[in-house]
Amino acid sequence: MHYLRFRYRIYVNEIKQLIAAISSISVILTVFFINVLVPVFLMAALMVVGIIASNTTEVSERLVYQWGYLLVTYLLVKIQAKAILATAYDYYVSSVPVSKARRRVSDMLLLLNGGNLVLLAPIGFCLFIPDWANLVKSGYFVLFALSVLLLAIVALYRRRVPFGSLLVLPIFVIYFAQSAFWANLILLLLILSELIWLDGFKLNLRPVKIRHYAQLIVLYVLHRPVNFILRSLGAGAFIGGYGYLVGKRPDLALEALQLVVCLPVALVLGSYQFEIERYRSQYCYFHRSLPLMPAYLRWIELLPLALLSVISLVLSYAGGFALWLLALQLLLILSASLGVALFNRHYYLLPSAITGLSYVIAPVSFV
């Protein structure tokens, strides 16, 4: 059997298992997913590529579409990465006497197959650029097509999430970019640097001496930074969304909007306590064996949440939130974290009740 065919069979088998796993959740969901969502999703991707390619689309609007497109590309490849790389049969596949180049070619062909139209459409559009003059004029699109390809390779080979290109830079360029070409060039260079350095970059915390319980908790947070970063970005997205909305519709009632934003921000940040509860349950005997007062341990374990709260409050303050809403936001975050300890999955009850109560006590109008 040809090597590529062998790899393809592994890929198909893995994807079948993935679909079977989804079908075990719900047959209806699977039928809906396979028969309706996938074609809709692919068609939508093609339409979005058309919008991005169009010279008449505004720069900021184009960058928002590009951002969404890159996110979809990343997710599409990431869920298939193990199937494409035959990770489940890693040792056996490595033992097959095939050159490294041939392995890479197989990876790339399976990647294009798995990425399907989402991956091929931007390259296809590039091929329709009629002449050099247009190529220079549409240079931003060529860069975008390359970014999509490169990001797919990052999703395939890199274990870590490329937060820089997926989340941080897009938010930055949407607000500040004047030229689509330069924005795309910076994005492409960032993705390239992520491809080279993403997994290699390692925060070496081994020599750090751990003397206090607070340091141990910080070490735990740094051990799993994704949960912390995602929550900060989530809160930032809500507050940024508020800023965007106010910019577009200055006639809206500001305090009412701020109150609306406070609850999801608190829920996103307060849910970090689930991480701490997980730590406590994973190391329950170690935790109980510590010769330290339980109340002291509890207070120290609130440190990551306190840091998240500070980030959120600073962003809210910069966004022009009223002072009483900043205080309310802090109260909601604390109540959400308390809710995690008291009600577990229903941790939203307490902050929701407080938000409802604030509408009654300090009525705010949406008009």
């Binding site: 081994r206 751990i210 003397r211 005997y285 170690f286 064996s289």
Partner: protein, 196 residues
């Protein structure tokens, strides 16, 4: 003295200890019995890491769950999972700081653990995890030492060294083991638990 008074402990419908009363006086004790009879549970209760459903457990008149008791008790058990995100060195350092004791260099060298000191707990072999757990149990010179299968997984050299340490130990020592090194040693008072 470690005193168990009318202790009951069950997990769900499975009653492990029922009205268990026993005084572990100063000296060496070995708990024996078939798998699942509650040997490890008894050690976890003695260390204050499990709470009895009823009854009381004291060490020298201190409730074992109090911070004061924890300061004078040392436990080594595979049940205690150490933070996998710390290195052995960080964990020992933190332990020494909590108990206000010096770095246990002599123990580390004697157990041939020096070369693994910078390794993450998650990357330690089972044998080295056992050594780390023993190191932490001995590090603060506890008045009461609780060891769950202390010789399992150790190399011959470390096993001999641990045997020497235990030979010289002056406090209340409670071991759970199937190893003849302890079960056939007359210094150890045997406490037999049954599976029923």
């Amino acid at each position: 003295m470690m005193r168990f008074s009318h202790v009951c402990k069950s997990f769900g419908n499975n009653a492990v200890l029922q009205q268990f009363s026993y005084d572990f006086v100063l000296g060496k004790h070995c708990i024996v019995g078939p798998n699942g009879c509650g040997k490890t549970t008894l050690l976890m209760l003695a260390a204050g890491l499990e709470t009895p459903c009823s009854g009381t457990i004291d060490f020298n008149s201190m409730a074992v769950q109090s911070v004061e008791a924890k300061r004078v008790i040392g436990l080594a058990s595979d049940k205690v999972v150490f933070p996998r995100f710390m290195t052995a060195s960080q964990l020992i350092d933190f332990h020494c700081r909590c108990y206000a004791v010096p770095w246990p260099e002599q123990l580390i060298v004697a157990l041939n653990f020096s070369s693994h000191i910078g390794t993450l707990v998650s990357e330690l072999s089972l044998g080295n995890q056992k050594k780390l757990s023993l190191l932490l149990a001995f590090a603060h010179n506890p008045q009461c030492l609780l060891l769950d299968e202390p010789s399992t997984g150790l190399d011959a050299h470390s096993r001999d060294y641990v045997a020497q340490l235990l030979e010289a130990y002056q406090g209340t020592l409670i071991i759970s083991s199937h190893d003849p090194l302890f079960t056939e040693d007359r210094q150890y008072q045997q406490l037999s638990l049954s599976a029923d």
